[in-house]
Symmetry: C2
Subunit: 338 residues, 2 copies
DNA sequence: TTGAAAGCGGTACCAA
DNA sequence: TTGGTACCGCTTTCAA
């Protein structure tokens, strides 16, 4: 059916070993022989059989990616950047979506391990670090992205979460806000980090961070705008009213925005709002939203590079590296005061 | 390193052949033997080596997906649905993004063919049907989605494009619009179909479809809102002004919306607007946008099923099937007149 | 610099 | 119902 090494070897009157070495630039082969081999390969459009190679070398030249939700722009941007880097290095990318379900995520990990991927990259929805033990057991390199876990020293690529909160809060302060509230997210590392950053920016500026100024949004996913609206309505009952709000993410910020407008207040004049994620294009919104960009492409690139280097060096997790990228403030109308 | 069939066989005092057959539910094996084999497999958490199996059977149990842009919600929803179906059938999904670049797309096709995927699913950015010849040459089943080509009878899953245009236009007519314009997309099948639907709905209602009422948006991708704004500004120079506009997609519709509001006109009272794609949540927008839903999840599912059935039946493209799903109108404020 | 032989971990065929 | 044997296409080892 397809062309095999054997065919090339026969055509050229050499052995398959010679062909194999020529393909992989083995120093054994004379330039002349290599040239003949490569030419014939081109002519026949020969493609080595990966399965056969995998069987011998144990490497699949494929990396697995597991994300909570492929439709979320953050994760699809990560996936896109990842795919780009892997393409350059001739690796394949197997993607699966855990649908924010920890059990399904464990399933997918097993599946990808069964496929013998060379490395795994995971944006985990787990509550505990348990499932990563399995991966380590199999000796497969893995990189966590976006969310990390207490007590698990694993290779990680993400953004400086505290800096996110500081950047947003400092910006509100710079815009003249005096009472800055926070609508926080769930009990996962990015949410906790951002909240800590909010607190730090306030204390550095000798501002109060009263407990009443922190409210939780009951949902932070796609339906987060409802959660954000509820949360903002609770903030709107406080006296004195906050005049600036840092929201855990953009959907929540949108909900908050809606609540403020419904109450007859103005954004940003009465209350300024900052989101996070930078996922919503300004032209689409009633009030274009100031947000914090998390450099999702950068996260994808770094994660890919880290995974590849772990594969190459074969050093499992001697000293797990952590890469934290810096977030960027994107100023739009929701905070722009003269 | 990992457990092999040989280990199971030795433990149980049977041959590897027996184990192999037991795993695959071959009718040869006695229930008792099968039971013993399966139990031992559980105990050792044995996972068959896919590469070895692939080498013999020629099947990789992986399907390749190529999309123009993974970040576009339409394609990520397709990918998500695809992944779900394939997971149930124990297939892997290799994803790559062609970045809307025909040359890159051809590259990716070669890559995935070299990986010997069992089938390919492609939302193509090609101008011609040339590259599909290569796939057919390799005897690999493939399914096109979203965009198709004149003169190429290939398996296809998409939406009834004409129906999209008709649904949108009929809705505008039902809302009392009398002069309905269209902002069209590029020279690809969905854009042409939607335009044809617009024309058909008008003619069925004995309305005029003057050429001046069709304008092109210079971009239809993520930056489509600028293109939509430009196009709408051109429509706003016409006399009489249109009082309804069907836009090729949602980003264009958003741009059109902006142009109308900037001109001091009201939506939907002065001009009603319909988009397509249903990608923008209503709560985010200045005026929530009426749109046509394309059932992206359905497209993903059907494409997966079609690819799987082509793999199973081994019938290449005897009679290429075409599946056209029905679009759905989602009414929101941008057209809601009393 | 080249190649013969062994083997990676399974499956297919056919005989027992 | 079970299993011996050949073989899938490639890489590795070691001898020539």
């Amino acid at each position: 059916m397809a062309v095999r090494m054997k065919d090339i070897a026969r055509d050229l009157g050499v052995s398959t070993v010679t062909v194999s070495k020529a393909i992989r630039n083995h120093s054994d082969i004379s330039p002349k022989t290599r040239g003949r081999v490569l030419r014939r390969i081109k002519e026949l459009n020969y493609q080595p059989n990966l399965a056969a190679r995998t069987l011998v070398t144990g490497r699949t030249y494929a990396i697995g990616l597991i994300v909570p939700d492929l439709v979320h722009p953050f994760f699809s941007e990560v996936a896109k950047a990842l795919a780009r880097v892997l393409r350059e290095r001739d690796y394949g990318l197997l993607i699966s979506s855990s649908e924010e379900d920890p059990a399904l995520e464990r399933d997918e990990i097993e599946r990808l391990l069964a496929r013998r991927v060379d490395a795994l990259i995971i944006a985990s929805t787990q509550r505990t670090a348990e499932s990563f033990r399995r991966i380590r057991e199999e000796g497969v390199p893995y990189v966590l992205i976006d969310r990390r876990f207490d007590g698990l020293t694993a290779p990680f690529v993400g953004v400086q979460d505290e800096e996110v909160g500081e950047l947003a809060t400092q910006h509100l302060i710079d815009m003249g806000c005096r009472r800055i509230a926070h609508i926080r997210g769930p009990e996962i590392s990015p949410a906790l980090g951002r909240m800590a950053g909010w607190r730090r920016a306030l204390s550095r500026n000798r501002r109060a961070a009263p407990p009443a100024y922190i409210v939780s949004s009951r949902s932070s996913d796609d339906a987060g705008d409802n959660g954000g609206r509820d949360a903002m309505q609770r903030l709107l009952k406080l006296k004195p009213l906050p005049d600036g709000v840092f929201c855990y993410n953009d959907p929540i910020a949108i909900g908050a925005l809606r609540a403020v407008l419904e109450r007859g207040l103005r954004v940003p004049e009465d209350i300024a709002i900052v989101g996070c994620g930078n996922i919503l294009h300004s032209a689409f919104l009633r009030v274009p939203l100031t947000s914090i960009d998390q450099d999702s492409a950068g996260i994808g690139e770094k994660a890919a590079e880290m995974a590849l280097s772990m594969i190459e060096t074969k050093k499992p997790s001697a000293k797990p590296k952590t890469i934290l990228l810096h977030p960027t403030l994107i100023v739009r109308d929701s905070t722009r005061r003269e």
